[in-house]
């Protein structure tokens, strides 16, 4: 009888904590997708999402291709940054050290455009 009570007592706080962490994780993720202030860009359905990402200088932005077709991440001037062709699930990163607006596109499907705003 004594043993049982102890177990119940310990489990309760563990459950409460995991609940809290789950909440925290959720809201952080939601913040990244909606506001575009995170550093992740998902490529899917011939679209860069979010289309505009705002980051502070020194941030590394990560792109991941979830589309079933390869895409590239290439700055409009074709020199600042240029990924190799990314097949499904492949990734690309670039660290933006200088402030400015960096427009980029997919060089395979040039109608796909987006930008990174570095503050």
């Amino acid at each position: 009888m004594k043993g049982k009570k102890k177990v119940i007592v310990w489990i309760a706080p563990i459950l409460a904590f995991s609940g809290l962490y789950a909440q925290a994780g959720k809201s952080a993720n939601a913040g990244r997708k909606e506001s575009g202030s995170g550093s992740e860009v998902k490529i899917d359905n011939f679209t860069f999402a979010p289309g505009t990402v705002t980051v502070s200088a020194g941030t590394t932005v990560h792109w991941v291709n979830r589309d079933d077709i390869p895409h590239t991440v290439v700055s409009d001037d074709k020199t600042t940054f240029k990924s190799k062709p990314l097949d499904t699930d492949q990734e690309f990163s670039y660290t933006f050290s200088k402030p400015g607006t960096y427009s980029y596109f997919c060089s395979i499907h040039p109608k796909m455009t987006a930008k990174v705003v570095v503050q």
Partner: protein, 349 residues
């Protein structure tokens, strides 16, 4: 694909002449060839026959205007035609978008479907002399992808294959590998021309140096070359131009067009018979404007949605048993003395 939607109603001549229509094997109704000869205005143009023929176009037949005389051909009929008419003097086939290396849901086995396409070509009633591959030979410009495609193409009955690159063939190296494999005889970024039995062919490259937000692009160097290349030809020379991305504005929102194609088409205006063969959109589409016939071929790998019918122009998944009905090859015949080339699409299954 329902031809009655994209079909033609015989209204005014100008509407009919600029009509868009789908060639569709499953709606073949006409099992005979008709020649119409009405020249009431005495100007050599058979208007009534043209309108009648355009009405047939809705059934999937392809109408060929040959110096005022109209002939319609249906795929099933092709086998019954008198050999001297069907054979013509030049027969070739167009295949496109083999995407060797693609392995996603829309088609997990592009090797099998390319092989099926070659089998279809090898079974054509008139053996094609050569093939035109209008690009996206590979999916990721990988050497093994090009190698596999080449191996399969070698099993075709045709003696030669002429290529133009798609955007998937020039990834990562600005087309260096493509040019080494297929462009040794070509100029600069891979354009070139050749003649076969009096027909002039020009292979163009519109997938290089693409700009953000833009469409396909030919560029000034290539346009200048094309102008020069065509200058020496007489207006009665049939011309075939082939390039990957459509040279007419199919659907700009999806990048289905070429920025500077109008310039190229202006050099072709004076010719009596111009055929433009493209790929890229993974579906057959056809348009006639004056003496120019525009045609896009189906892919041998996977279909894409019709313009605006989906979120994006990516691979379109269809039930496995229906896949081959969305893939295909195209047979083209030129008959000496006739103006236009006869273009017939065939599905893989």
């Amino acid at each position: 694909m329902n031809t009655s939607e994209g079909g033609v109603s015989p209204v005014t001549l100008s509407q009919a002449r600029a009509a868009y229509f789908w060639t569709n094997e499953e709606n073949m109704g006409q099992r005979h060839k008709d020649e119409i000869l009405y020249d009431h205005n005495h100007d050599g143009i058979d208007r009534r026959g043209f309108l009648k023929c355009m009405a047939w176009a809705g059934t999937g037949a392809f109408c060929v205007m040959q110096g005022g005389v109209l002939k319609s051909y249906s795929l099933s009929r092709l086998a019954d035609l008198d050999p001297s008419e069907a054979k013509g003097e030049l027969s070739f086939a167009q295949i496109s978008d083999s995407h060797m290396g693609f392995n996603k849901a829309a088609n997990p086995d592009v090797v099998a479907t390319l092989k099926a396409a070659i089998e279809k070509i090898n079974a054509l009633p008139t053996a094609p002399e050569f093939l035109l591959h209008t690009g996206d030979i590979s999916h990721l410009s990988k050497p093994e992808e090009f190698d596999t495609a080449d191996q399969i193409l070698k099993s075709s009955i045709a003696k030669d294959v002429f290529f133009v690159p798609g955007e998937h063939d020039v990834l990562g190296d600005d087309g260096k590998q493509y040019l080494e494999r297929y462009g040794k005889h070509a100029k600069s970024a891979g354009w070139y021309s050749f003649d076969k039995k009096g027909v002039h062919f020009a292979g163009l490259v519109n997938v290089m140096n693409l700009k953000a937000g833009g469409l396909g692009s030919l560029g000034n160097e290539q346009l200048e070359w094309l102008e020069e290349d065509l200058k020496k030809l007489s207006a009665s020379t049939p011309v075939v131009v082939f390039a990957h991305i459509p040279l007419w504005s199919v659907y700009p929102e999806w990048g289905w067009g070429t920025e500077d194609s109008a310039q190229a088409l202006s050099y072709l205006k004076r010719f009596g018979s111009v055929t433009v063969l493209n790929g890229h959109i993974h579906q057959t589409m056809q348009k006639i404007e004056g003496n120019v016939t525009f045609h896009t071929a189906a892919s041998t790998a996977f279909p894409q949605p019709q313009p605006g019918q989906a979120e994006s122009p990516g691979p379109m998944k269809v039930p496995a048993e229906e896949l081959r009905g969305f893939l295909g090859i195209t047979e083209v015949n030129f008959v000496r003395g006739k103006q236009a080339l006869a273009i017939v699409d065939a599905k893989l299954g």
